[in-house]
Amino acid sequence: MSELDLALCAGKRLRQLINENYSSQEEFAYDYGLEIRTVSRYINNGINKVNIIQELSEFFCVPFTSFFSTN
């Protein structure tokens, strides 16, 4: 996968994790401490920073590699 595909894949995984754990993206944004527009950007444009994915994987208690799985 290209870097862009990986970033989009990570954004898709974040959306999935938010849906599993929160009733809305706003609720997640407040709990995690992000601006709502940043959450939207991650989901729609992807996450291209490894350290951000490290922190998200720790927060949701899922493996780091799960952010790059296409399943």
């Binding site: 870097e3 990986l6 599993e20 754990n21 929160y22 706003e26 609720e27 997640f28 944004a29 407040y30 709990d31 995690y32 401490g33 992000l34 601006e35 920073k49 490894v50 350290n51 490290q54 922190e55 720790e58 927060f59 949701f60 208690c61 780091f64 590699t65 790059f68």
Partner: protein, 403 residues
Amino acid sequence: MKRTDSEVVEFIDDLLSSYDLTPNRAIFLYEHNNRIVNPNSPLIFIDYYKEDPDSWCLHFLPELVSSTAYVFGVSEDEIWECNEQVDVFLKNEDNYTFFGAREQFAFRYLGSHFAGSEDAKALIGLLFGDMSLTELVHSGLPLRYDYSTVPARLYDSLKKVNKEVPGVFHEGEKIVNLNVTTEHFISYPRFREYLLAFLKIARRIEDLFYKQLNSPLSPEEEREYNFYVLALDVRPVVMGSMNATTKVVSSLKSIYKEHHFDEITSYLRFDFWKAHLAEPWRCIEFTEDFDLAQQFFNYVPEAKAHFRNFSFASKHFICEYNWSDSINTSLDGEPERESFAIEKTESELEDDIEYSLRLSRMASPPKLGGIVVKEPEGRVFARNNPGLGPIALMANFEGGTAP
């Protein structure tokens, strides 16, 4: 005994700083409550935010003594005489336990980077606690972790992760400008007393806040309320540049009455963790009572993001760095810094493993057992009604979320 003016200024400065107040803020509160005897006082023209007490405190000493006596609810004579018992009295009194406990907490935290007994760590922390970690690594002082292994571990980790995320590792290049940070737990035996004392003050602020919306406070209630909101840096959600003193609340009363919300966090923002570095989650004792921690976050819901950051950093070495080829090829000055977290080993975490796991759980989403923080109704309402003037400020309140 008659004291010199300089001694009095020094006494006031020490007294106020114990509560994270400055002469500027004490005088500001004094004037804000219309207590200045002379309406033509030159105090009115002071730049309150100019931190240079030495140059002007002496000039305004009578006003400074009056304002300090008012803020603490003691006599002016006690201030003129530099009565040390004033401070001891305040800290030992039930309502002021929080401030004494906070001071000890901050003192302990300074030594947390170092190795050795608790006493040795506290002493080294007092002398060197304000140095950055990078400076400490080169200082030869006894540190808790051996940072010399971190560069090689970073290199190996990036090489491994490169299999999932190509481009993270730069084959044949060097890691340069490496900066490492981390966080530590401390043990604080007075933790429970400290947090309960905070909750007691927070509830008192809440009670007096609601009371003044309907009827005037008594002079002593007014003094007590104003002291607390200044010392804890409590601000109105709709006016983040001011402390929520009685006068400010009075000016916002019509907005408050027009829009009713159930929780105090829709009106006031408790911000003490940012101003005082006495973040309770740094204590191992914080993880031992989930309900108490939950009560704390009911007053400071936005602190969960800071607590989560601490939880992550306590388990990792956070590395910021550049690859050597990025330095060489960057056309516009400094290249963007990379960041990657190296997990601490079990032997590095030592006895902290248990606390670290509990803290991670508390920092996770509520569905996974984490602390519940509810976005204040006022913020939600403001976001959904952007045309409602001052109330709409809640939605975009500066500092409303962590960086």
